[in-house]
Symmetry: D2
Subunit: 352 residues, 4 copies
């Protein structure tokens, strides 16, 4: 019998859910014991209900698992639960899991703004997990809700933090070119994007302008104090399958040389508690020297899709510096990020 931690995946047949199922195949700490889907699929096996769309084949372990309804009461065994729910359903039901004693690592946006819910990026703010104690105290939960940020925020926030730690970022102009997989399934109609760009993604700019200031905020006894930086964003959809590209222009308090900045980024060390988590990339930030990198197709799979690639660090003509960041939106920015968060939960609350 396995002594792995039993875990569940909510909305396991969707776009992010499939990635979770795939990444959890052979996971050293976790064993998937329960999977849920919408009512329509309930009672079917995973294999029967799921229109699998990843190029890596569906793992054997999940094929014959029965799909459960997506309710806290339907889960009997899982201690950590990965949620790939849409925001509106997440809003309604995620607290039920926390009340019932489960630790929910959620990719949904529903509770990202809740002051007691950590917006967790283990490479940046593992201490924000302290908020879970406050959830116990203030909300009366025995489990907890932990969220990972939006895939586009994730795409640049680690190098941004690496810079901020040393030189204090004051302003950020972020401009994204986002992949189609970020819109889920069926997502963007092909007629809308072939030979085209869509310069608008509903609600996305607001997320980018808020999430980094919480993630990069300071843990205080009763809350996270938000980072004082200002953010302005333009978000766009382009004809790329996976990985978001973000152009960033920043103002900083201190003004190091470009070489010092590159050096800071290349030598960024993730917190010790995070370093040895199974899904933590060996190198969290990869700096590319070629003038035309990073690129989504060429760099998205580095470190199994968990690295952030960065390049073109150069002086700006108005503010201080400019750079380009690329990150895999459905791995690092969604399923992989949730699992990494689950690992940090496992370390803190399950002694791994």
């Amino acid at each position: 019998m396995s002594n792995k931690i039993p875990v569940a995946v909510l909305a396991s047949t969707g776009s992010v859910g499939q990635r979770m199922i795939s990444l959890l195949d052979g996971h050293p700490w976790f064993e998937v014991v329960e999977v849920t889907a919408s009512e329509r699929s309930e009672g079917k096996t995973y294999q029967e209900a799921c229109h699998w769309f990843l190029s890596k084949p569906m793992p054997d372990y999940v094929k014959n698992m029965k799909l459960l309804p997506t309710q806290a009461s339907a889960l009997q065994k899982a201690k950590i639960v990965f949620s790939a729910l849409p925001a509106d359903i997440a809003k309604e039901i995620e607290p039920d899991f926390a009340k019932a004693g489960m630790f929910l690592s959620s990719n949904a946006s529903a509770y990202r703004k809740d002051p007691l819910v950590p917006l967790l990026v283990p490479e940046i703010n593992p201490d924000h997990l302290d908020l879970v104690e406050l959830q116990h105290k203030n909300y009366g939960w025995t489990g907890g809700i932990i969220t990972n940020p939006n895939c586009t925020t994730t795409g640049f926030v680690i190098p941004l933090h690496a810079i901020d730690q040393k030189y204090h970022v004051k302003q950020l102009f972020a401009f994204s070119m986002q992949a189609l997989s970020g819109a889920g399934i069926p997502g963007v109609p092909s007629l809308d994007i072939i030979d085209n760009v869509i310069p608008y993604i509903g609600g996305e700019e607001e997320k980018l302008e808020f999430e980094p200031i919480k993630i990069m905020g300071t843990m205080q006894p009763d809350s996270v104090k938000y980072h004082p930086m200002q953010i302005s964003a333009h978000t766009n959809r382009v004809a790329v399958v996976d990985a978001h590209t973000i152009c960033c222009t920043i103002a900083t308090e201190e003004k190091p040389s470009v070489e010092e900045l590159i050096d800071t980024i290349e030598n960024y060390q993730v917190p010790d508690v995070t370093k040895t988590l199974p899904s933590c990339p060996k190198q969290a930030i990869i700096y590319h020297e070629e003038p035309n990198r990073p690129q989504p197709r060429l760099d998205r799979d580095l470190e199994n899709g968990m690295a952030t690639s960065i390049g073109r660090i150069r002086k700006d003509t108005i503010l201080d510096y400019r750079f380009v960041s690329v990150s895999h939106n459905t791995i690092r920015g969604a399923a992989g990020g949730s699992i990494l968060n689950g690992e940090l939960i496992a370390r803190r609350f399950f002694g791994m």
Copy 2:
């Protein structure tokens, strides 16, 4: 016999040259009497030498014209010359045409920075054509060189000027997503761009950071006084055939409401001398109210590819306003822009 002005096209078989040939078909003022190409094609007919790639078929008038060498001495009849030359060759030979009395409307970047060469956008600065008189006086030319800006600059500079005229732009952050046709033929390899973005275009950001301040500068007796605005640019290549999309964030002196700004743009009137030129769009700037517009594939052909589309005008979180601009890079931003400049030349120097 035609009483149209005889014109020539230099580098007529290339990407921009073909667009010129196509747009000059049936032109009310101009008759193409001479076409040139590189040595390799000399002596062949246009039809024999040209790998035509536009979806509109090759016009009949050009099919059997003999290709001449690209030298001023080879032209016997043309009074206005459209140049689709690459920058390095343009640098070397364009002055020869001006010396020989021809008026050169050039799409090449070679002389855009020359203080006596107009960087002309007839919707903005027709008075910069005064510089040609200074060319006569100072360079001893009897013709002249007139340039149009880079296709990406052209993509946002008309709405930027419409705003500036009334509210004075102080800062601009521009982020581009540029079409493949901007890189010419053969241009970007398909393996580099399918399912990908290239976040770098050599020399492009520098052009965007300079050209608007000259175009929007003030004509003074002996020179153009550059506009004092600051510009910062990120330029990117995306999988779009034609039309550049540019996200702009600006700071202005005055702070109108978004409605006033939209109103200013929608009611922008081009200068009187330009309004009746044959290629001048009826509506120079088209404002789109839908939140996800403009888009390159849907909006590039408005006003025969000569309009600038704009949308998403909204407040910024750091500076003052944000918007998205789309413009056809090989029509408005290259061949069509050159021809419109040629028409302004024809009006001023040939009494049309």
Copy 3:
């Protein structure tokens, strides 16, 4: 007051409906007096209800027309009705219009197999319109139903007929690479087709294997006698916006040289009754000599999207000849085909 024939468009806000509305703008014979849509849109103006997606802007004439319900009883004025209905609804309600005295030119597949309904391609079989008399006699209708073929059939059937007329086609292997617009709106998800091919289109191969034998059949007093040729098809979806490409391999009774075959195709004359219809292409079939043509993006707009492009006619190694055909699927293969059929109806039944 206009003396044009009053016409209506059913399902006018969908993908094919929009093309019809656009092509009928300024039509010399027809005036759109009524437009219908699904119940959801009833009572709204066209402009309010329609998510317009063509790059050519929505025509002014239609913007403020009120959308009617899609029922024969709702139409008061139209004499000819263009139907862009989906097959299942067409099946149910199209006969109502014919009973009520209207002539329906339908793009739907519902009645294409009805032995008394012409599957009409005016360049091939205008005499099949005789079937309408049989509809009057046998079905008791005072109007009629006329259909145009599937967009992929349309893509090769005109050159096939040109060859057959002279050399008698016995067998056809057809392989298609079909555009995304053929799947309507929203149609194919972008994640399914970027960097991909889908080698299956439900029901499509069956249509290709039947429709040509009816279109190319012989009109007899009481029915159309089907053509005896055999057809085998593979159909595929590729990342092209508009225009289907079809590779054909054929066996013929007579064995002309390739030159004779090309000659036959280039000199194909459409029937006299068709030649002067307003939407009839001047040249129905355009032969391309370049070895790598026709291509969908370069050739789809020839003759305003109404021509069939053909190329690479060469000997086959097993049967007799091979060639490639390209045709605009939503113009020639759908909306434009319906309108051309409407024009033939107008000539025959309304004396135009």
Copy 4:
């Protein structure tokens, strides 16, 4: 010291060469000891000279290897040589390597038609390696030249052979939709293929019509007796990065049911000598039951890119059966195929 077989890669910095370098990283039998490139790169390290374009990073082992000139005399250590040379250079120099005692596994087309050179697919015809003995006898070589077929032939020839072995294929109509990586670097310009199809690939149809009859031929004492089947091909380029899709229609001697045919394919066993080669896929042919599979993006990476995917096996309306085949063109169809051939050479001539 390693007791692996020392190998070299010719033209190691090109598109196929890079794939070879990548696939040979950590190979259990082979150690890359020498790499060559064109004169321009001679003397540089691999890292300096190579514009690496694979998403899997450049292996460490090759980074600091010095590039040698591409001549037999420049190699001192390699016993097996993998050739990614272009056909014209291969024609000229590949025999030098065989004369000098090296065994050349070549991806080039130059010697595929030589009657004494095996066109080797280890899953089909490992016995054709007998031809190398004839090379020794007749050409006086002490090494040998072994070729793998064109990537498109490879894409369908294994299932074709599986069928043929039991039911004897008489005719084949093959229609391909080929990936961009098949055209190498820089290859197809993006402007030629976005929103487009190119229905022509120079020389490709001839290869498809010849290669299977040699591969599936019978080894006789002095030569390979070609297979008597007839083949007709249409080849097309589509906007896919990797993997060719081929639609096949076949006539067979015997007429099994579709179920029997699927059964035959699913149970196809590769020859024993091949089964245990390190690069041999566990399952050579993977049958997909979903009606819309195989698809290039979803199925190209199965079995590390070495499997052939097949689906849609169904009756034909003219001949006997139809199906769709997908295979990774630069892995199975090029670099991976060459390496698998190298492994068969190693087994036969080096006792592995």
